[in-house]
């Protein structure tokens, strides 16, 4: 009985002794894109780089007892996925994933052993069942875990392939493979390979030189082709439609295109690690705006890699939104280096004045 009471007491002490600081957003510290006088579309909300950003710092008393909590860092993130209040970050230097539970305020490393061992997880994707798919460029396979993070199976041919990204949409699993120069399409039901594209020579404009990231909408597959400095668009059956961008430093061009995402208005977001920004194009491939920029402070980027959009977990970030703005969706961008490893932005619009 005493044992039980002491356990309850200890848990109460431990859980009540963490404090989380939220910097109040003011007109002075607000970071918005584009800069005034253009209409603000994106607000930088916060960054997450260490477990303390999630769990909070120990209170003075607990710090006295246990010492200062140095926390656990996000080391070198590339891809991420968000599902039901949990952020999954593939960390190439950790050789595993960082899993952040926004609801429970927990931060943990996922470093599976045995058949599920990860070596260099580049990208990850969590589907609607909570299944986790990890594209591991050193293991050269996509590793599948169930919603309890138990190993299910691996996908791909480690002798010839090198998966860099994975996406689950409809009844298919889409993998971009940098060694095969293709998008590989697997059935979600039986994990059989059902399609692969493009099947053309390198001289052809359809060819994927170095596909590193992909995004699948209802009817299109967008592939970030690092090696041709373009985003190439195919139908879901693999017919080539068009490309976006070209090589160069002018607005709307790319030098190091990486992560991509498409919002509900068919706007395309493209990370460029050379410009250290994200450019947004409309469905007619016209440049709408860009945000981020070479790191000088909050809201800037440092060798960014991935962009993810989210419409389902707004409640965890409302506290960072300026009172005059309405949050429409979240934009997450990973930085491989620098003080801010995961930047969280909000796509916002001005509240109408009554």
């Amino acid at each position: 009985m005493y044992k039980l009471l002491s356990v309850i007491l200890l848990s109460l002490i431990l859980t009540s002794c963490y404090s989380r600081m939220v910097t109040r957003v003011t007109d002075e510290n607000l970071v918005i894109f584009p800069a005034p006088p253009d209409t603000a579309r994106i607000q930088f909300l916060t960054s997450i780089s260490n477990s303390i950003d999630i769990t909070g710092q120990r209170s003075g008393f607990m710090e006295y007892i246990l010492g200062k909590d140095e926390g656990m860092p996000i080391i070198k993130p590339y891809g991420l996925s968000i599902h039901k209040g949990k952020i999954y970050i593939s960390d190439t230097m950790l050789g595993g994933l960082v899993i952040i539970d926004l609801k429970k305020h927990t931060f943990s490393y996922f470093e599976p052993g045995g058949r599920g061992q990860l070596k260099k997880p580049i990208n990850c994707f969590v589907d609607d069942r909570g299944y986790l798919f990890v594209a591991d460029a050193e293991r050269k396979e996509v590793v599948v875990f169930d919603n309890n993070l138990k190993y299910v199976r691996s996908l791909g041919n480690a002798k010839t392939g090198k998966p860099t990204d994975v996406f689950v949409a409809g009844d298919k699993i889409w993998i971009c493979d940098i060694n095969a120069h293709k998008v590989l399409v697997y059935s979600r039901d039986n994990y059989e390979l059902v399609n692969s594209f493009p099947d053309v020579d390198p001289q052809h404009e359809n060819f994927l030189s170095s596909p590193t990231n992909l995004f699948v909408t209802g009817d299109k597959v967008y592939v970030s082709d690092f090696g041709s400095f373009k985003i190439k668009v195919y139908t879901t059956s693999g017919t080539y439609l068009r490309s976006i961008g070209s090589y160069g430093k002018a607005l709307g061009q790319f030098v190091r295109p990486k992560g991509i995402a498409v919002d509900r208005n068919d706007n395309l977001y493209v990370v460029d690690a050379g410009f250290e920004n994200v450019q947004i194009f409309n469905k007619d491939d016209k440049l709408l705006m860009f945000f981020g920029g070479n790191y000088e402070g909050r809201g800037n980027m440092w060798l960014p890699a991935k962009v993810i959009l989210d419409y389902d977990n707004l409640q965890y970030f409302q506290k960072y939104v300026h009172k005059d703005f309405k949050l429409k969706h979240l934009i997450f961008v990973t930085n491989q280096y620098g003080p801010d490893k995961l930047n969280v932005y909000g796509f916002i619009e001005l509240k109408s004045k009554k």
Binding site: A250, E276, L287, G293, Q336
Partner: protein
């Protein structure tokens, strides 16, 4: 090879400041000559372009972003910024250019990365979870003061680099150690090694380190 040619080669290699550019002419066929390698990683038929974008591309459309019509610039800065202040150990400048490809997808996950789960440098750099200490530091100032303070480094302003001049002249960029201090990406020493000089008997390490 005729004897006079051998003498001539030795003479050229000994001329201060001339040997490094000559070695750097080995780009063709090197690890970074993507075209000659016959691989399919880059679409460009001009391999230099992969790392050296032109100042202005004629193919770029002269339009301003629709939502940012007040934007005044028409080109982006590539690998810019120095951070809010000194960010010791974080990649800056030309090292960012290296790491933008060496991110684990296309090329080795260099600096802060691993090969087959083994960190590149073991001794003294094992603390991978600290994020900055598992590799040789880059983007750090290497000054006479730093050398004096540790007592374990040669003075970059007076020590010979073995490349024709001092360490500061031949190996540092604005007094800063970058990836390019030790790596000649245009293939300086031997196919695949991409070093500025041979590291036989730790020769490259001992250029700066007093051991």
């Amino acid at each position: 090879m005729p004897v006079y040619l051998t003498y001539f080669s030795v003479l050229v290699l000994l001329l201060p400041g001339l040997n490094r550019p000559l070695l750097a002419q080995n780009f063709k066929g090197s690890m970074h000559d993507f075209q000659a390698m016959g691989n399919k990683l880059f679409e460009s038929d001009k391999p230099c372009l992969v790392c050296h974008p032109p100042h202005r591309s004629s193919s770029a459309e002269e339009t301003l972003p629709i939502w940012s019509s007040k934007a005044v610039k028409d080109t982006f800065t590539v690998y810019g910024s120095a951070g809010p202040a000194e960010q010791p150990g974080l990649p800056l400048g030309s090292s960012k250019l290296c790491l933008s490809c060496h991110d684990g997808t296309l090329a080795l996950d260099s600096w802060g990365g691993r090969v087959n789960t083994v960190p590149f440098l073991n001794a003294g750099f094992e603390d991978r979870k600290n994020g900055l200490k598992n590799d040789h530091p880059i983007s750090v100032k290497y000054t006479s003061t730093n050398a004096m303070r540790t007592g374990e480094l040669n003075d970059p302003f007076i020590s010979n680099s073995g490349l024709g001049n001092t360490i500061e002249t031949d190996m540092l960029t604005n007094g800063t150690l970058q990836c390019s201090s030790c790596h000649d990406v245009h293939n300086g020493m031997g196919a695949g090694k991409l070093l500025v000089k041979t590291n036989k008997n730790s020769n490259l390490c001992l250029t700066c380190h007093k051991k």
